[in-house]
C-alpha cells in the first residue's frame, strides 16, 4: 500500500496538474489545451544511470547488421585516425599549456606592450622562390596606447633574398597644428639575388657573354648593395568617406653593384651573359636623388575590402642630372571597384602606367620600370620585364567565401616598350585565382596563384598596388 501511495505522491509532484485553462489558439493550433500528459503511467525510477536501465528493454534489440558491416572499414580507418591523433594531440596539449601559462602573452609583454612606449617586434617574411627572412624591430612611440603620436624604429633583417638590412625610421608630425605627416628612413641593405632579363622582350636565342641589354632576353641574377635615405611628407585631408593625400618624396640612393658579400654569389650571374659596360648604372657608388610630387585619392567605402568607389595614386618627378645620370620619372594607377551584388561580389578594374623619360645615356637600368610579381602582372616572376614604359591592365573579381575570406579570379595584361608608340604592341597575359584574408576594415594579406610564364605563387600585404612602398624600392 505504502508503495502505491509513494508512487502517487511522486506522480503528483512530477506532473503538477494546473487545471485546464483555455488558451487562445494562435496559428496554427497548439497542444495547449491538452495540459498534462503521461499521468496514467506509473512512475518508474531506474536504479542506475546507465543507458539500458531507463529504456525498459526485456530483450534489447540486436545491433543492426549494417553496424557489423561497418566494423571492417572502421578498423581500417582507425589507422589514419590514430596517425592524426598522434600528430595533433601533442600540438593541442602544447597549445593548452601555452594558454594556461599565458606564454604568448608573457613573451609579448616582454617584447612589446601597449602601455609602454618602447618595444621589440620580431619580424619574419616568406617570399616565393627566395625563402625566409627574419629579424627584429625596436620600436618607439611617443604616445602609449592606441594610435597617434610620433613613431620611430630601428630594424634589422637577414635572409636569402635580402642578405642583410638595417633601417632607422621616424614618422610623425614635426610641426604641431600642421596637417603634414613626415616620414623618414635611412637604410643599409643588400639584395644578392635580384633578377635581370635584359630590356624589353627580345628573344634572339643568344646567350652571352657580352650581350647588350636589348640583344636578348636571358635570365640572370645580380647583386645590389645600397644605402637608401627617404624623406616623405604627406598632407592629410580626411573626411568621413573620402581621402585625399598630396605629398612629396625625396629619395637618395647610393648603389653598388660590385660588392662581394658573404657566399651569396648570384647564379647565373649577369656578368656571364651581359656586358656590364653596356648596362648603364651597373657599377660602384651610383648616387641618385629623386624628387617627386605624390598624390593619393581614396574614395572607396571600405579600406580592407572595397566594394564601391575608386582609388588613385600617382607621382611625377625625376632625378636631376648628376654623375651622368638624370631622368624624369612618373606613373599613375587607377582602381575602380564596381559593386556587382550585395557589396560582396565586386569587380575591380585597374590601369597602371609607369615611365621614365630622358636620354638613354643618362638612364640607368635600375630606374627602368618593371613588370612581374605580386603587384604587377602576377603570372610572371618579379622583375621579369623592364623597359622605359610599362603598363598593366587588371580585371579582378572578388566574391565571398567566408566572413574573413574573399575569393578572387583575375586576368591581367601587361605591356612594355621603349617608346609610347610601341606601347601596347606586345602584351603579356596572366590569370589565376586567390584569396583575400581579412576584414572589410583591415585586409591582412592576399594569396595569389597565377599562370603566365609558368605557375607563380605570391603572398602579398599590398594587393594590386603597383606603387606600394615605391619610395623604398627605387
Amino acid at each position: 500500500m505504502w508503495v502505491r501511495v509513494r508512487r502517487l505522491t511522486i506522480i503528483a509532484l512530477l506532473f503538477t496538474i494546473q487545471g485546464a485553462s483555455a488558451v487562445a489558439k494562435d496559428p496554427p493550433s497548439l497542444l495547449s489545451e491538452r495540459d498534462t500528459f503521461f499521468t496514467d503511467f506509473q512512475l518508474g525510477v531506474s536504479s542506475g544511470s546507465g543507458p539500458s536501465e531507463s529504456r525498459g528493454w526485456q530483450t534489447p534489440p540486436k545491433e543492426p547488421f549494417s553496424q557489423k558491416l561497418l566494423v571492417v572499414p572502421r578498423v581500417v580507418l582507425a589507422i589514419p585516425k590514430f596517425v592524426l591523433n598522434l600528430i595533433f594531440q601533442p600540438l593541442l596539449a602544447l597549445g593548452r599549456v601555452i594558454q594556461k601559462h599565458a606564454v604568448i602573452e608573457h613573451v609579448m609583454d616582454f617584447l612589446y606592450n601597449d602601455s609602454r612606449t618602447l618595444g621589440i617586434v620580431p619580424t619574419a617574411k616568406l617570399a616565393s622562390g627566395v625563402g625566409l627572412s627574419g629579424g627584429a624591430k625596436l620600436k618607439y612611440k611617443s604616445k602609449p596606447h592606441g594610435k597617434g603620436g610620433n613613431e620611430a624604429h630601428l630594424e634589422t633583417r637577414w635572409g636569402k633574398y635580402r642578405h642583410h638590412f638595417y633601417e632607422a625610421a621616424y614618422e610623425g608630425k614635426v610641426f604641431e597644428g600642421m596637417p603634414i605627416r613626415f616620414s623618414s628612413r635611412a637604410r643599409l641593405e643588400s639584395y644578392p639575388l635580384l633578377r635581370f632579363y635584359g630590356y624589353g622582350d627580345v628573344d634572339t636565342g643568344k646567350n652571352g657573354p657580352l650581350l647588350g641589354p636589348r640583344d636578348s632576353n636571358v635570365f640572370t641574377r645580380y647583386r645590389e648593395d645600397r644605402f637608401l635615405a627617404v624623406l616623405k611628407g604627406e598632407i592629410e585631408t580626411e573626411t568621413e568617406s573620402e581621402f585625399l593625400k598630396p605629398g612629396f618624396s625625396l629619395i637618395y640612393n647610393d648603389r653598388d653593384y660590385a660588392g662581394k658579400i658573404g657566399n651569396h654569389n648570384p647564379d647565373p650571374s649577369i656578368e656571364k651573359v651581359y656586358n656590364p659596360s653596356q648596362i648603364k648604372g651597373f657599377s660602384q657608388n651610383v648616387k641618385t636623388l629623386e624628387v617627386t610630387g605624390d598624390l593619393e585619392l581614396d574614395f572607396v567605402d571600405y579600406p580592407g575590402q572595397p566594394s564601391e568607389g575608386h582609388e588613385f595614386s600617382g607621382f611625377f618627378g625625376g632625378v636631376p642630372t648628376q654623375s651622368g645620370i638624370g631622368y624624369f620619372h612618373y606613373g599613375f594607377e587607377e582602381k575602380v571597384f564596381i559593386n556587382l551584388y550585395r557589396k560582396n561580389r565586386v569587380l575591380l578594374l585597374r590601369g597602371m602606367l609607369e615611365a621614365v623619360d630622358g636620354s638613354e645615356e643618362r638612364l640607368p637600368f635600375f630606374a627602368l620600370p618593371r613588370l612581374g610579381g605580386a603587384n604587377r602582372l602576377r603570372g610572371y616572376p618579379t622583375d621579369r620585364f623592364r623597359d622605359e614604359r610599362v603598363g598593366v591592365g587588371t580585371l579582378e573579381y572578388h566574391y565571398p567565401v567566408h566572413q574573413y575570406v574573399m575569393g578572387e579570379l583575375f586576368f591581367e595584361g601587361g605591356t612594355f616598350s621603349k617608346t609610347y608608340s610601341d606601347l601596347g604592341s606586345d602584351w603579356k597575359f596572366g590569370g589565376g585565382f586567390g584569396f583575400l584574408i581579412g576584414t572589410k576594415e583591415d585586409l591582412k594579406f592576399k594569396l595569389d596563384f597565377a599562370y603566365g610564364d609558368g605557375y607563380q605563387f605570391s603572398l602579398s600585404l599590398n594587393p594590386t598596388e603597383a606603387f606600394y612602398r615605391r619610395e623604398r624600392q627605387l
Partner: protein, 544 residues
C-alpha cells in the same frame, strides 16, 4: 564477367546493406519488460569531488580540424539516444527535469523560471572582475550577501544581450534544463563600490587588485540609461562548487553517475532544435557548467546550460556574421563550395536583414531553415541528433503558445513594446517552421493512453495544423497490409480498439495524411500487454 564488374557489384551490395540494414522486431518476441515506465533516473548518487575542467583555445582547433577529421573517419551512423525511456521520452535526471513537456506551465511560472531570489538588491559590492566572455562584467555581492555575475550591453546594441540572456534562460528552463537565475536590473554608480579585497586577472593571467578606475572603465563601455545609471543582467551564483563545462562527447571520467556518452544524450541532441528555435548559435562547452551540489545529503554533479546572451540574433549582430545559424565558423564543405561556385550562388542567408531595433539582432523567421541550422562551433551532440530526437524536441517547443512567450519576453524588459511583440511573433513563426520540418520525420502519433479498453492518442501533425485530415492505419505484422483504418478527430485526437490477440502485443500503426496532400508517414510500433487491465509498455517511434 570481368573481375572489376564483380567488385562493383560487391561494393554496391555492401553499401546497400550498410544503408538499408535494420533490425525488425520479431513477432512474439517481448521487446519491453512490464515494469513501470522510467520517469526518473537515479544519477544523483554520492560521488567524490571531481576536478574542475577547463576549456582552452586549442580546443577550438580540435573542434574545427582534428575532431572534424577523425569523426569523418569513424563512419558514424545514426545511433538512438540512450537517455530515453520506453515511451521514447526523457526521464528526469541531473541533466533535465520534465516541465513543459508533461504539464501546462502557468505564465507566472514561465516568467519566473529558476529565479527564486529576484534581482540583486542594492547596494552592490564588486568582489571580482570577469575574465571570460566577450562582454564586460564583474562579480558582485548584494545587500543580502547573495553573489551575482553582472553583465552589460554594448553601446551599439543597448538592451540586446541583457534581454536575450533572460528571455532565452526562461525558455530553456521551461523546456526542462537546469539554468541559473538570470534577471534584468538597473543600478547607478552610487549604488556600487569595489571591495578592498576585489581582484581581477590581467592578460598575463595574474591576479591583480581591482580598483574603482577598473570598474569605471567597465561601466564606460556600457550604455547609460541616464548619467551614471546602467541596465545590466544579473546571474545568481549557482549552489555548489563549479567544476567546468561538460564535454560534448564521451563521459566525465571522475563522475561515476555519468554513464551515457554525452553525444548520445537526447537532452543534448535536442539542443539542435531548441538552439535553432531561439537562435542560440553560441552553444558550446564553455556555455555549460557542471556544479558539484549537495542536495538531500547527496553530493553529485548537476549539469547546467549557462549564458544565453548571444541568442536571438545577438551573436550575428555582435560579430556582424549573417551566416550565423547557417554555417559553423569554419565550415569546410560549404566554404569550399562557395569558393568553387565563384559567388554565382546566392547563399540562403544573404537575404537576412537586421531588425529595426538595436535591441534585437537579425533574428528572423525568413530566411530560416530548421534542417540546415548550424551552431557557430561544432557541438557534437547536435550532429548526432536522429529524427526521433528532433521530433521529441519539436514536440516540446510546440507546447509554447503566444501567452507563454509573451510572459517570457516581458522578463527581458525591452523598452520598445513593438520589439517585444516582434520577438514573440518570430519565435512563433520559427516554432511553426520547426514543426513543419521535423514532425513528419517520424510517426507523429503520441501521448498514448488506455481509455475504457481502447487506446487513445493524438496525431500531433494534425494538432499542429500540418494536416487538415488524417487517418490511422493499423498494419499487419509485416507492416505492409492495412488491417484497419481509424479517422482522426478534429485536433488530431483518436481512440482505437486494442488488437484482439491477448498477452504481449505489437501494434504497427501508420498515420496517413489525407489532406491537403496525401502522405504516408513512417510506421510506429506500439507495445502493450493485452489483458484484463491492458497496459502500454513502450514504443518504437520509427520503423524502417
Amino acid at each position: 564477367m570481368k573481375k572489376s564488374v564483380w567488385w562493383v557489384f560487391l561494393v554496391l551490395w555492401y553499401f546497400c546493406v550498410v544503408s538499408c540494414g535494420s533490425v525488425p522486431t520479431k513477432e512474439g518476441e517481448a521487446l519491453f519488460n512490464q515494469a513501470p515506465i522510467v520517469w526518473s533516473v537515479d544519477d544523483q548518487k554520492n560521488i567524490e569531488e571531481p576536478e574542475e575542467t577547463e576549456f582552452w583555445l586549442a580546443d577550438y582547433f580540435d573542434l574545427f580540424v582534428t575532431r572534424s577529421m577523425t569523426r569523418t573517419l569513424e563512419l558514424r551512423t545514426d545511433q538512438p539516444a540512450l537517455d530515453t525511456n520506453a515511451l521514447d521520452e526523457v526521464p528526469n535526471s541531473s541533466w533535465f527535469t520534465n516541465r513543459i513537456g508533461v504539464r501546462k506551465l502557468t505564465s507566472r511560472e514561465m516568467a519566473r523560471g529558476s529565479n527564486e531570489n529576484g534581482p540583486p538588491e542594492l547596494p552592490l559590492v564588486v568582489t571580482k572582475g570577469k575574465v571570460l566572455g566577450g562582454n564586460p562584467g564583474f562579480f558582485v555581492k548584494d545587500r543580502r550577501g547573495k553573489l551575482f555575475i553582472i553583465k552589460f550591453d554594448t553601446k551599439r546594441n543597448p538592451e540586446q544581450e541583457t534581454a536575450t540572456s533572460v528571455i532565452v534562460n526562461r525558455i530553456f528552463w521551461a523546456l526542462g534544463y537546469n539554468v541559473p537565475s538570470d534577471t534584468v536590473f538597473h543600478f547607478c554608480r552610487k549604488d556600487i563600490s569595489v571591495s578592498e579585497k576585489a581582484t581581477q586577472k590581467n592578460k598575463l593571467n595574474e591576479k591583480i587588485k581591482m580598483t574603482d578606475e577598473n570598474l569605471d572603465n567597465i561601466l564606460k563601455q556600457s550604455p547609460e540609461l541616464k548619467p551614471g545609471c546602467y541596465r545590466a543582467s544579473a546571474s545568481e551564483f549557482l549552489d555548489g562548487v563549479p567544476k567546468g563545462g561538460f564535454s560534448a562527447e564521451g563521459t566525465r571520467p571522475d563522475d561515476p553517475n555519468d554513464q551515457i556518452p554525452h553525444e548520445h544524450r537526447r537532452v543534448l541532441r535536442a539542443l539542435q532544435v531548441f538552439s535553432a528555435w531561439t537562435g542560440h548559435t553560441d552553444i558550446k562547452t564553455e556555455n555549460t557548467l557542471d556544479m558539484y551540489v549537495n542536495e538531500g545529503g547527496r553530493k553529485y554533479l548537476k549539469h547546467y546550460l549557462v549564458d544565453f546572451g548571444e541568442a536571438l540574433g545577438a551573436h550575428a549582430s555582435e560579430k556582424e556574421r549573417y551566416e550565423d545559424g547557417w554555417e559553423h565558423l569554419f565550415d569546410w564543405d560549404k566554404q569550399l563550395l562557395y569558393f568553387l561556385s565563384f559567388g554565382l550562388w546566392k547563399r540562403p542567408w544573404e537575404d537576412r536583414k537586421d531588425t529595426k531595433w538595436k535591441s534585437i539582432g537579425p533574428f528572423v523567421s525568413k530566411p530560416f531553415d530548421p534542417e540546415a541550422w548550424k551552431e557557430v562551433y561544432p557541438f557534437w551532440p547536435l550532429h548526432e541528433a536522429t529524427d526521433e530526437d528532433l521530433y521529441w524536441a519539436t514536440k516540446l517547443i510546440m507546447r509554447f503558445n503566444r501567452a507563454d512567450l509573451q510572459a517570457i519576453v516581458k522578463e527581458g524588459q525591452l523598452s520598445n513594446p513593438e520589439a517585444s511583440e516582434y520577438l514573440v511573433e518570430t519565435l512563433l513563426k520559427r516554432r511553426d517552421a520547426i514543426a513543419k520540418a521535423f514532425l513528419y520525420k517520424v510517426s507523429p502519433l503520441d501521448y498514448f493512453r488506455m481509455k475504457e479498453g481502447r487506446i487513445c492518442a493524438v496525431d500531433l501533425g494534425q494538432a499542429a495544423g500540418l494536416s487538415e485530415k488524417s487517418t490511422l492505419q493499423r498494419m499487419d505484422s509485416e507492416g505492409k497490409k492495412v488491417e484497419a483504418e481509424f479517422p482522426t478527430a478534429k485536433e488530431g485526437d483518436l481512440c482505437f480498439p486494442l488488437l484482439k490477440k491477448m498477452g504481449y502485443a505489437k501494434d504497427r500503426l501508420r498515420i496517413v495524411v489525407d489532406a491537403p496532400v496525401q502522405r504516408f508517414l513512417p510506421l510506429l510500433e506500439l507495445h502493450y500487454v493485452n489483458r484484463e487491465r491492458p497496459k502500454i509498455l513502450g514504443l518504437i517511434r520509427k520503423l524502417p
